[in-house]
């Protein structure tokens, strides 16, 4: 059963076509990596899934229902930066999702509910390795720890699908490796469905159960903006052997040359 479905989705800004004829089904429990050169519409694709943007044609379905055209608690997200709230400590950052769900007026739980929420949050924080930083503000956390916090924060509301926008792009190689381990474990433990946009092809093949490459299928040298990107390659990765970057993608990581 597919969690998220794109049916013949187009995104056009005036005469400029960004995405064309995107049809994609994300299966329950899949870890889909989205790759492609800069300007291939990866981010636009993620904005569609988030509801930050609506398609100009086609439809997007979440669990078979049309996706509401604004971000909601059914879709969690971790961005490359600014994912956590700077004015809340780690614990408050994680309980925020529970506060919103349980207290629509004050945005703060009280009494038993508050205690339960804090226990849930503490357990999640401990799971991502922040058990010593409950009271720490994001500013005092390293980049990797901030992303760990962002993951815990996104998971607390149990989203149907987790959207990751280059989540490890700004991290040091060593830290990135640790994060790869963490996200793989979380994915398995929480039975998550993940859609991850990344620049790093190796990362895409290492983490994903499926890799989708976005690029322009056709190119008009006189009017490059008239052709949009679409999913040009779709690799299901069922076994370890297939987790090698196929030679056909070697050129995709290079920046696209316009005109």
């Amino acid at each position: 059963m597919s969690v998220l479905s794109f049916r013949n989705v187009w995104v056009e800004y005036g005469s400029k076509i960004v995405l064309e004829k995107v049809s994609l089904d994300v299966a329950e429990g899949a870890f889909v990596s989205i790759i492609g050169p800069s300007g291939a519409g990866k981010s636009t694709f993620l904005r569609l899934a988030l509801g930050q943007e609506a398609p100009s044609r086609g439809e997007i379905l979440l669990d078979g229902e049309p996706l509401s055209p604004e971000p909601g608690p059914d879709r969690g997200v971790v961005f490359q930066r600014y994912s956590v709230f700077p004015h809340m400590n780690a614990l408050d950052n994680v309980t925020f999702g529970l506060d919103c769900a349980g207290s629509p007026l004050r945005g703060r739980l009280g009494g038993k509910a508050r205690k339960a929420a804090r226990e849930t949050a503490k357990a999640l924080l401990a799971r991502v390795g922040l058990e010593h930083n409950f009271k720490t503000y994001p500013r005092a956390l390293s980049g990797g720890m901030q992303q760990r916090l962002a993951l815990a924060q996104a998971l607390v509301t149990r989203p149907r699908i987790l959207l990751l926008d280059e989540p490890f792009g700004a991290l040091d190689p060593g830290v990135r490796l640790d994060m790869h381990g963490l996200i793989t474990e979380l994915w398995a433990e929480h039975r998550l469905t993940i859609l991850m946009v990344t620049h790093d092809i190796k990362e895409a093949f290492k983490l994903g159960t499926r890799v989708v490459a976005f690029d322009k299928r056709r190119h008009d040298p006189q009017a490059p903006h008239r052709y949009g990107s679409t999913a040009v390659y779709d690799f299901p990765l069922d076994d370890k052997k297939s987790r090698v970057v196929p030679p056909v993608l070697a050129g995709l990581s290079a920046p696209s040359t316009p005109g």
């Binding site: 600014y82 700077p86 919103c100 945005g107 703060r108 924060q153 509301t157």
Partner: protein, 274 residues
């Protein structure tokens, strides 16, 4: 020899260096005042410390026989009351307008241009209108300060709220926050330290408007007093009053700063002492 731009004074030295120019100015004044006093003992323009002490004595420690109140205390109370009410109203208005204009595109589209237009009107130019509409009493003075500082504060806060990264706003929504909760728990807490900063900066023009309004139409207040005794060239009263006003302004500024640092510590990154 180290480059000048790398030479740093030590903590104690920095304090001394900061005091030095102030002491030099005081000394310069004393030299001039003494010289003028020896030439003309009845000189009123640069009173010597003894004359100022006498002025302070009459204004700050002896009740006015006509009203029965100590002038400095009555003036300070009246002025601070006007300033306090005006700044309180300005802060409340700024919070409501700044948050909504900064966060909600519809409010920004409808109120943004109005606030921008009002903020370019020189407030003193509307003072006559305020006197006509609100009379010469307390209201017109408070409204002048309010009108003078609020538009700039609203624009500043709206800009600050609008600059909250889009990622945070989206993140809040993916965590189930409504418009109200995003405003209450994401925008408001991040706006408060900025509002305090804005208040600190606005206190300067606020004092200008207060003293202007008091100078033109009032019967009590710090601005009223210095403009009243100006007629008698009473520098022995004006100078202590100016020092007192500066002291009040400094205390308010430090108080607001301390409030921001204690209540919103997250907004104050530890400074690298250079």
């Amino acid at each position: 020899m180290r480059r000048l731009l790398n030479a740093r004074p030590r903590v104690g030295g920095r304090l001394l260096l900061g005091l030095l120019p102030i002491l030099a100015l005081v000394l310069l004044y004393l030299v001039i005042a003494t010289a003028r006093h020896t030439e003309n003992p009845r000189d009123k323009i640069t009173p010597i410390p003894a004359a100022m002490a006498a002025g302070i004595q009459t204004m700050a420690f002896e009740p006015d026989p006509r009203t029965g109140e100590v002038p400095l205390v009555a003036d300070t109370k009246a002025s601070l009351r006007r300033l306090g009410i005006a700044m309180g109203l300005a802060a409340a208005t700024t919070l409501v307008l700044g948050l909504t204009i900064g966060l909600l595109p519809y409010v920004r589209a409808s109120l943004g241009p109005l606030v921008a237009a009002i903020s370019v009107i020189p407030p003193i130019a509307v003072l006559p209108i305020l006197f006509i509409v609100f009379g010469l009493g307390e209201t017109s003075k408070i409204v002048l300060i309010f009108v003078g500082v609020t538009p700039v504060m609203v624009r500043d806060l709206a800009g600050h709220v609008a600059a909250i990264p889009e990622e945070q706003i989206v993140k809040a929504q993916t965590l189930g926050a409504s418009t109200w909760l995003t405003l209450l728990r994401v925008a408001l807490p991040q706006a408060l330290p900025r509002l305090i900063d804005s208040l600190r900066l606005s206190l300067c023009p606020a004092w200008v408007y207060l003293i202007s309004a008091e100078a033109i139409a009032s019967d009590v207040g710090l601005g009223y007093r210095i403009f009243l005794v100006r007629r008698y060239l009473a520098m022995d009263i004006i100078l202590p009053y100016v020092v007192w006003i500066s002291l009040l302004a400094v205390i308010m500024d430090l108080g607001l700063q301390a409030w921001s640092r204690t209540s919103f510590a997250w907004a104050h990154p530890p400074r690298n002492v250079r």
